[in-house]
Each structure stands twice: as structure tokens, then as C-alpha cells.
Amino acid sequence: MKINFPFLSIVLLFIFSSCSEDDSSNTNNIQFVAAFENQSVSFTDTEDEKVIKLVFSETAAQNGVITINYTENNLSYSTDFTTTPSAENGSIEIAYQAGEAETSFTFNKLTENPREGENEKSIEFYITDVTNGTTQGNTNLLVNFSEAASLGGSVAPTIGGPNEGNQVYIDLSAQTETIVARDKWDLAFYSGEEFRVKLNNSLFMMAAELNTNNIDEITEADVEDLQAQMQLLQAGSDVYVDNPNGTITGTAINEISSVLDENKVYLINMGNEVGTDTPETGSVAVAGDSRGWKKIKVTLENDTYVLQYANLNETTHQQQNISKTPDYNFTFFSIITESIVDVEPLQTKWDLNFTVFTEVLELNATEYTAYGFSDYVATNVLANTNAYQVTVNESINYSDFSIEDVDESLFELDQRVIGSNWRDVFNHSVETNLFYIVKDPEGNIYKLRFTALVNENGVRGYPTFEYNLLNL
């Protein structure tokens, strides 16, 4: 037996073809970028120190320094303000370490905001150098010694991950968020002219009028048929929820009458607890166990709401007087904790509410149903926050959109303008061809686009958006 050429060649081929290249070296050669997190910072009279954040395009691969210069406008270093680290010869050097994704410096305000009629006081910082990198985007930062409206920025509302346990109120002009656990309240009593009661639709609550004034005579046996109807994805269940457009006259509970006997008892589906399960990556688990059923009745006494409430089978009830709260949309009450609770910021101090939401959908050609949505964004229609949706085309895109492009006739007073339109659930992403124009209660007009539905690991409940002031 001899070893011949074909055999040797097959052995060689064997060895050679079983090799494989294991390291998939990356072809994307990416430059390191640093910028200010926001375009502007405003100081109220009482504030005297703010941390100015600088963010990176990705985690720094090596140590480095960001050099910042500034232009003063009726202000001067040492007299009116200082920074930490301090400026040397008109420039500030901020060191960062490898592995960091952001850095910052502190701005100390030493003098007061200008009075009415006095000259505007501001300072503009600008990045002049980044070690082994560059700057783009927010290369400049305007610091105002006044309560000027924010020029814009990016926001990641804390809605609480895949259980979406929070309602988050966003004030664009102040760039603030107010976070409220969405099961903190059950009923909201309108503070405006009318006497209206709103349900917490983030918990999928529903209300049905019963044919009695006596809250104590209702038991479960009286309402069994109604209970089957008061469900999500049930034909006709749309009549048991507040009008999703947000008009105060569209509440499921009729206007509270000053005539005592005109106010009926309502059966309340308390909806679902905030979910606690961990879903698969990319899914939500917003709805937990059922919160059961209650019965309520609301009447008026000297322009104050009087709420009666009880568990369904009880023959006695609790009673609570609830007054309107001026400068707020509503007074909020929790039947669970039996107390008045703080929820919304001042009426004009929020524009958007990130929340789970009860919407009304067509079930088929003739019937409608209530349906639960996650990742919903409602506008503050009761404070006249107007909005409209823009679809990107060849001539319109977000970055070039300016105040001249705003079409006042398109503004709508409907809290669903943004709604869930902005998200693409199937692809776990945003609808990149849509953006929004929002006019806040103070008349600031912002353009706004969503940048993420999920976080970098694909987990739901981490939306982000960016916005820019148009009427500068």
C-alpha cells in the first residue's frame, strides 16, 4: 500500500478547508463625538448652580480632554459666574476617562437675574477641541439668566420599562418630567367650569350608569350582564370609557347635576393592576390582575363634589367631599387609599403625558370596542396644547422644518394626535417618517420626533424623543 497524490491532497484540503476566520473584524470605522447634552439651560431667580452635561457618541476608548470656550453677553467670569473646573485664559478643559459615556462641569451663578427692562444676561459655551475626536450636534450651549423657554433637547421619559408603571408628564419649555405611578389615582374631578369626573384610563377603568339613585341597593346579581359587556375587546364596550379624544364633555360618567336625584349610581370596572410579570424582551406586560368592581355615585353640594363609593355587594358606603383645585385640570382621588392625591403638574406646566391608555377601535364594520394601548402619548388638551402630525416626504423632513413651515390650520385639539401613531410595535422601533408639531399653553411651538421605543437591549418601555423650539 502506498500513499498517493490524491490522498495527500485530500488530507491537505481537509486541514485547509476546516479552518475558518473566527474574528469578524468590524468595518464600520466610527469617529468619537462629544457634545453638550442640551442646547440651552435657564436659571430661575432662586437657582445658583447647575451641572452642565457633555455626552459622547459612544463609550470613550481612551482618556482625553474636551476644551470649551465661551462668549459673554452682559456677564463676566468671576463676577457673575464661575465654573468647576475653572476657566484659564477663557477656556475650560474637562478631562474624561476611558470607559465613560459622559462628563460634566458645574456652572455657578453669582449674580441675580436681570429685572424687567434690564439687558438680557447670557453666556454661550462652545466646544473647540475633543482629544482624538470631534464635536457635532449640540456644539454650543446657551446659559440664560432668565426663565426662557428651552431651545430643545432629548428626553427619555421614565415610564418604567415593560410594565409601564408610570404616567410621565413632560413640560417641553422647562424640559422637566413629572413621574406618577399610574395606579396612584382612580377618579379625576374636573377643576374647570363644568362638573365632570374622569376615569383612570391607564388602568382600563370603565363606568356604566345604573338605573337607581341608591348606591346601597346594588349587588353583583343586578349587574352580571353588564359586567360581561364592560371588557376590553368586547363589542359595544366603547360606551363605558371616556371619549379618547380628551374633551371633558365626553366622559363616560354624565355631567354631575346640581339636582340631587338626577345623579345615578355607576358600576365601575376598576380595570387592571399595573403588571408585575417580566415579559420576553421586546414585549410589554402592562396589565396585571383585575382590580375588581366598585359602585359610585357623585353629587354636588355647594359646588363641591360629593363622592359615595363602596364595594359591589356592600349595603353601606363611604363618602368624601372633593373640591376643585384652581390652576390644575383636576383634583385626583384614590378609592383604594381613600385619599386625595397629587398627580398632574399645574395646568399649564405640562404638554405631553406618556401613559398606558384606553382607546376606542372599530371591532368590525358596525361595532366598536375599548382597547388598551401601551406607549401612548396624550397631549394636554384641557390646557389648549395643540398638535399635528407631519409625514416626511421629498420636500419635508424633520431637520429642515422651520417656523415658516408651520401650518396653523392643521393644529388639532385632540389628545390622540401623537397617540400610538409614532411607534412600530412589530419592528420594535419608531415610525421614522412621522414627526409632530406641538404648540404649548404658553405659545411655544416645538417640532418633536421620536427616536426609540425600546432601549439598547431591545427592552420595551424606554421611549426617547428629541424636540426643538421653532419660534425662537
Binding site: 500500500m1 498517493n4 490524491p6 490522498f7 485530500i10 488530507v11 481537509f14 478547508s17 476546516s18 475558518s20 476566520e21 469578524s24 473584524s25 468590524n26 468595518t27 464600520n28 463625538v33 462629544a34 457634545a35 453638550f36 447634552e37 455626552v55 457618541s57 459612544e58 463609550t59 464635536t135 457635532q136 450636534g137 449640540n138 433637547g153 432629548s154 360581561a228 359587556q229 371588557q231 376590553l232 375587546l233 368586547q234 403588571g275 410579570d277 417580566t278 415579559p279 420576553e280 424582551t281 414585549s283 406586560a285 402592562v286 396589565a287 382597547y371 388598551g372 419592528n427 420594535h428 422601533s429 421614522t432 427616536t451 426609540a452 425600546v454 439598547e456 437591549n457 431591545g458 428629541e466
Partner: protein
């Protein structure tokens, strides 16, 4: 790991060269009748195909070689009434037979069901079944519950492995290089197979072999752009990743066979198999940084790792020259591990998000058959038992709560079966059979069969074969759970088995030419097969809307086929035509149409040997005619439309050349007609909904070169 294995095989190889043992012992092997194929499936003992009561189709080792088949998916595409349906997005392929999915066909290796990710004998990913140690593949159509128990509804594929060799040493290394469509490169594209097999006769009674094969399928990009791609306009375009997932398989098998040449034979077979499949998410998360106006894209990528262990111990023999026994015991397990990780496209960093065993399967199997109680050729009886202890888990059952996503299930079944072969006259043999299946979960099931073989005048043969087999519900049907404020879809732990039954009639004759050079066998077959109590999702309540699985539907199919085989000198050819109809009685639906929808298939293969040059030319052709299905209108479910999957053909061709006696080169092409996607028209024409989509069936015309060396001494 890979290199160690390679090294040890090489060391083994060179050691064997040094040994220089030239004693060429002629040893026992299955003496294959040159004219008559010998089969095992459904038989009491190994016997020739013409004596079998069942109709068995055989794919020989030569067929497999000429197709350069490395796994079962490579070769079954040519079989009539059967389709290989790829799940390109998962990297797996299942067998569809008579329109039923892979849960209804049983895959056996040496008569023992093989474990897979999702089943024990059924729902097998046929790309995971390596063919490098195969004697032949036997295929039976029809319900075979008496012989093979539950889930043998539409048929059985039995893979018979080689258990002997003629030479004292037999060393067979081969490499196979393949393009995937038009994609090929030495490292990162194409399909690369390396294999080495070593067989040794320790004595005339003891034979052992071992083989190692690596199958590195680099995936099919088609229009996609791989792992590191993202759209720089920050808009997902679904082009990331692969159209056909890349995967790498390693198979290690070993066999020890003992044969005392009198009345006892035993073998032990072992297999260790691993598979690694990667799925790159088609969309990325851009992670826009509005401040720096940059993106830092990441993606939810997935890694699937399957591992299989297979042990099979078999003993056959005869007690006192009378009772023949055949006892198998097998332990098998397969685990599919799932890892979800975040891949950062800029840095190449990976962070694991989730890692767990997605599917696990452990099976203990034993079957024993006993026959030849009377030594009477006219009245044979076989009795047997089968024990099947099947424990498994499946995930993905509750997307809203990961604590509930995995369910385990244990299903122990114990069967007793008996059948008899009676020659009532010289020309008629009957074979009645029955099986009782008791299980830990379902009510007692029965499988029955009755087959008859008639020898008619002029050597016509008529076979009538009736059988039944229950089909067990799958994990999703038992345990799926999606209940939240907007949905209510639930599995049903109280489901019972589905019931399949079939009747086949085969009529055939073999014609011989005058000089015995010509052999022509036509065969006409017709059949009816149905599955009753078929499980489907029904609306259990409309207020509120809730769905649940129930035993409710009836699927049925009938058909005709005409198969022909011709051998003339160095030419052998076959052509078959099959025409079949399927009907579904969907009691689960509000409205349905149970008309039969018909389709047809043609298969043909031809091979010609040039003995002088030791060259074989072969071509394999299969035409799958258009197939139809009833679908509900997207806008108005009360309207039922007919969808149509266009017809398509598979054509494979190869040239096999023997060089220097022991060196065999096979050069060929798969999918010569370049099929990738086949149009699926959903009949919605005229409405605003899109009226057609396509189904991915192949990865286009691919070329292969296989170099195999037989070192025998």
C-alpha cells in the same frame, strides 16, 4: 476543539498506516442481492422487497452519493408525496408528507425513533440527521401505528446504518465544498464539509467504526448584508443578517457490532451531535444620540446551540433455532440552548440578555419483538412490546411572563402489539395487527392494521394496506398561554390524541427483457388518509373573546400515483407521477370550504454508467405542481378565497468519477433551475390588500465538489 478532533483523526490514520497490516479478511456483510433490495422497515426479519407485505421505497447509498447528500434534507427533496419545507429564519427543515407537517411523520434510525429539538421521532429537523454512515433509507407511506406507535400517521422514514465492512481497515476521509447559490468563498461563504470515517474488523465477529463530520453552512445572504450592516440613514430596511441562517454542525458517531455467525448479533451505536445556529436581527436599534447627532446601533441577536446524545443497544437472535427476538434499548437526549444578546455594531461587543434551555428532550425507548413461534411458513405470529419514556420541555409559551414561558411534560407510553402473517392460499397472504397504547396522560389508544398481498396471474402483485396511528398533541396545543387585557388564547391540557388512518392499494408487475438486461417495474397506487379529531384553535367564548385548542377538525387526502423503474444495461431510470387532493373540515371555524384541492408531483431520476471510464452521470428531477389552500379574506372573513403556491421544480445533476481505484470525485449542481422564492397568490386580487407574497424554498443554484478517498487494507 475542532482542531483536536482533526489531529486525533490524523494520528489515528497514520498509526494505522504504520501498522501495515495486510491481512484482508473477507468479512460478513449484508450480502446485498444485486437485483433485489433487502429491507427492514415493517418486516419481521430482514427480507427482500418483493416478499414484503408493505410497499417500501428505498434510497440506496449510491443514490445518496450521487446527490452528495450529507444530511436527510439534501436527499428527500426528490421523493414523491413529500416536500422538504425549510424554515430559513430558524435554519431548520421539516418533512411535509401528504400535506401534513413534520409532526405527523416518524423518523427512525435503525428502527428506533430519533430525538429532535421538539419531538421524539417526530417534528424532526431533517438537516440534523447526518448520512455518512448510512446503508439505505427506507420510506413507507401510510399510518403505521401498529408497527411504530404514535405519530406514525402519514408515514415512516427509517434510516438503516451500516454495521459491517469487507476490509480489515477501511478509512474514508472526504471533503465537500459547496456554493450556496452564487455565494462562495474559502472561509466566510458557502458550505464546507469535512469528514473522516474509520472502520475496523477486530475479528470476523467483531466490527467497529467511528466517524467525525463537520458541516459548516455559512448561510445564504441573498439580498441581505450580514452581521455588521445597518442603514446609515437611521431607517431600518430589513437587510441586516441572512436570509438563510448560518449554522455549523459537528457529528461524532461510533458503532460496535458483534456477530457470532450463528444465532446472536448485537450492536451498540453512539452519536454525539452539536449544532450552532446564529440569527442576526434584521433590524437594529439605532440608539440615536440627539446631542451628538450620532447613532450607536445595537441589535437583539440570537444564538441557538443544540446538542444530541444517542445511545442504541440492539440484540437479535434465535432461541433454540426457533423463536427469533429483536430487542432494542435506547437512551437519547437533545437540548437546544437559546441565548439572546445585544450586539453593538460599532464596537463588536456582546452582552448576554437572556440564556436558557429553549427545548429539552430526553427519551428512553425500548422495543422487543418475538416471532417464529411455530416454524410455520404459512402462519407467522409476532408479538412485541414498546416502552417510550419521553420527557421534554418547550419555551416561548408565554411571551408576557418569562416565569411561565417554559413547560415540561412527561409522557410515558407502554404498548403491546401483535401481528400475524397468514398465507391463506398460495397466492394470498394476510397480515392483521393490533397495538394497545396506554399512557400516563391520554386515554388508552388502539392502532389497527390489516394488510393483504395477492399474487395475481401473470405475476401481477396487488397489495392492500390499511393502518391507523394516533397523533399526540404538541406543547403549544397543551400549554400555550397568552392572556392579558386584550387577548385570551390558551392551550388545553385536557386535549386528546388526534387519530390518523389510511388505506393504500398498490398494483405492480416486473417485466424482464429477453436477455435479462432490461427490467421494468411499473406500480400503480391509490390511497385515502385522514386525521380526525385534529386539534385547532377555536373561539371558546365571544364575550369576552377567548380562544382555546380543541380536538375538532378533520383533514383528509386521497390520491393516485404511477411509478416506473427501468434498468437497462448501464442505464437506470425512474419516473413517477402523483396526483392528490386534500380537504379540510374545519369545525373550528365559523365557515369553511371542505372541497378537495388537487395538486400533482412528478419525480424522475436517471443515471448512466460508463464502465470503461468508471464514470456515472446522474440527474434527479422533481416537479411540485401548484398547490392550493383556502384562506379567509383579510377584510371580510366570511369570504373564503383560494390561495395558490406556484409550481416549482428541483433538478440536481452530478458526475461521479473514480480515479486511481479508490479516489472518487463527485462534481455536481443542486437546484439547477435556480429556485429561491416561489410566488404565493392569496387570491385577494382587486382589494387594497397586497395580493401576493412569496415562500422561500431554496437558495438558488449551487455547485458542489466532493472528493472522497477509500483507503482499504
Amino acid at each position: 476543539m475542532r482542531n483536536t478532533l482533526l489531529l486525533s483523526s490524523l494520528i489515528l490514520f497514520f498509526n494505522s498506516l504504520l501498522a501495515q497490516n495486510n491481512s484482508e479478511t473477507e468479512n460478513d456483510s449484508i450480502k446485498r442481492n444485486e437485483l433485489e433490495e433487502v429491507i427492514l422497515t415493517g418486516q419481521y426479519n430482514k427480507q427482500s422487497i418483493s416478499k414484503s407485505v408493505f410497499e417500501v421505497e428505498v434510497l440506496t447509498q449510491d443514490d445518496i452519493q450521487r446527490l452528495a447528500g450529507n444530511n436527510l434534507a439534501d436527499v428527500l427533496t426528490q421523493t414523491l408525496n413529500m416536500n422538504i419545507v425549510p424554515q430559513a429564519g430558524e435554519g431548520s427543515s421539516g418533512i411535509e408528507q401528504f400535506g401534513f407537517n413534520s409532526e405527523y411523520i416518524k423518523i427512525l434510525v435503525d428502527n428506533v425513533p430519533i430525538v429532535g429539538d421538539e419531538g421524539f421521532g417526530n417534528a424532526i429537523d431533517v438537516t440534523q440527521i447526518n448520512l455518512d454512515d448510512i446503508e439505505q433509507i427506507e420510506i413507507i407511506e401510510g399510518s403505521m401505528g401498529v408497527q411504530y406507535g404514535a405519530n406514525a400517521v402519514t408515514g415512516v422514514v427509517n434510516i438503516i446504518t451500516k454495521k459491517s465492512a469487507k476490509h480489515k481497515w477501511q478509512i474514508t476521509p472526504y471533503v465537500q465544498e459547496e456554493t450556496i447559490g452564487n455565494e462562495y468563498s474559502w472561509f466566510d461563504e458557502g458550505r464546507h464539509i469535512q469528514s473522516i470515517k474509520v472502520g475496523h474488523n477486530f475479528s470476523d465477529k467483531l466490527y467497529a467504526n467511528a466517524l467525525y463530520t463537520r458541516n459548516d453552512f455559512k448561510g445564504f445572504l441573498n439580498n441581505n448584508k450580514g452581521e455588521n450592516y445597518y442603514n446609515t440613514n437611521s431607517e431600518n430596511d430589513s437587510l441586516r443578517g441572512y436570509e438563510w441562517l448560518p449554522k455549523e454542525q459537528n457529528t461524532f458517531k461510533a458503532l460496535v457490532n458483534f456477530n457470532n455467525k450463528k444465532n446472536f448479533r448485537a450492536f451498540y451505536k453512539f452519536e454525539y451531535f452539536t449544532e450552532r445556529t446564529q440569527n442576526f436581527a434584521e433590524n437594529v436599534f439605532f440608539n440615536e444620540n440627539s446631542s451628538t447627532q450620532t447613532v450607536n446601533p445595537s441589535a437583539n441577536d440570537e444564538l441557538f446551540k443544540s446538542t444530541r446524545f444517542y445511545h442504541h443497544l440492539n440484540a437479535t437472535g434465535q432461541i433454540k433455532n426457533k423463536i427469533r427476538y429483536n430487542i432494542s434499548a435506547s437512551y437519547q437526549e437533545q437540548v437546544k440552548n437559546y441565548e439572546l444578546y445585544t450586539y453593538w455594531l460599532h464596537s463588536g461587543n456582546k452582552t448576554t440578555i437572556d440564556k436558557y434551555d429553549y427545548n429539552t428532550r430526553q427519551g428512553i425507548f425500548s422495543r422487543g419483538t418475538f416471532n417464529n413461534f411455530f416454524n410455520n411458513e404459512n402462519a407467522k405470529l409476532e408479538v412485541g412490546y414498546e416502552i417510550n419514556l419521553d420527557e421534554g420541555s418547550a419555551s416561548g409559551l408565554a411571551s408576557q411572563n418569562i416565569d411561565d414561558r417554559t413547560k415540561t411534560n412527561k409522557l410515558n407510553t407502554y404498548s403491546l402489539f401483535a401481528s400475524s402473517e397468514l398465507k391463506t392460499s398460495k397466492n394470498i397472504s394476510l397480515r392483521p395487527g393490533a397495538r394497545v397504547i396506554t399512557s400516563s396522560q391520554f386515554s388508552t389508544q388502539y392502532a389497527l392494521s390489516l394488510s393483504a398481498k395477492f399474487k395475481l396471474p401473470n405475476s401481477y402483485q396487488l397489495r392492500v394496506i390499511a393502518g391507523s396511528s394516533p397523533k399526540l398533541p404538541n406543547f403549544e396545543q397543551l400549554y400555550y398561554y397568552l392572556v392579558d387585557s386584550n387577548h385570551n388564547v390558551q392551550g388545553n391540557e385536557n386535549l386528546n390524541t388526534e387519530n390518523g388512518k389510511s388505506i393504500f392499494v398498490h398494483f405492480k408487475k416486473t417485466y424482464w427483457g429477453k436477455d435479462s438486461n432490461l427490467k421494468y417495474t411499473p406500480k400503480l397506487s391509490t390511497w385515502y388518509l385522514d386525521v380526525d379529531d385534529k386539534i385547532d384553535l377555536i373561539v371558546e367564548s365571544t364575550s369576552p373573546l377567548a380562544y382555546k385548542y380543541q380536538n375538532i377538525d378533520l383533514y383528509r387526502t386521497w390520491g393516485l400515483s404511477f411509478r416506473n423503474k427501468i434498468d437497462y444495461k448501464n442505464l437506470s431510470a425512474s419516473i413517477g407521477v402523483s396526483f392528490s387532493g386534500e380537504s379540510q373540515v374545519l369545525n373550528s371555524a365559523e365557515n369553511f370550504n371542505d372541497d378537495y384541492l388537487y395538486g400533482f408531483q412528478i419525480n424522475s431520476n436517471i443515471s448512466y454508467q460508463l464502465p470503461k471510464w468508471q464514470t456515472t452521470f446522474s440527474a434527479f428531477f422533481k416537479y411540485n405542481g401548484p398547490t392550493y389552500q383556502f384562506v379567509y379574506d383579510v377584510d371580510d372573513p366570511s369570504i373564503i378565497r383560494k390561495s395558490k403556491l406556484n409550481g416549482y421544480s428541483w433538478l440536481n445533476a452530478s458526475i461521479q468519477q473514480k480515479l486511481a481505484n479508490n479516489f472518487i470525485i463527485t462534481l455536481g449542481a443542486r437546484n439547477v433551475l435556480d429556485i429561491t422564492r416561489v410566488n404565493l397568490d392569496n387570491g385577494q386580487a382587486g382589494t387594497h390588500s397586497s395580493s401576493s407574497s412569496s415562500q422561500l424554498l431554496g437558495y438558488g443554484r449551487s455547485y458542489f465538489l466532493k472528493c472522497l478517498y477509500n483507503l482499504n487494507f
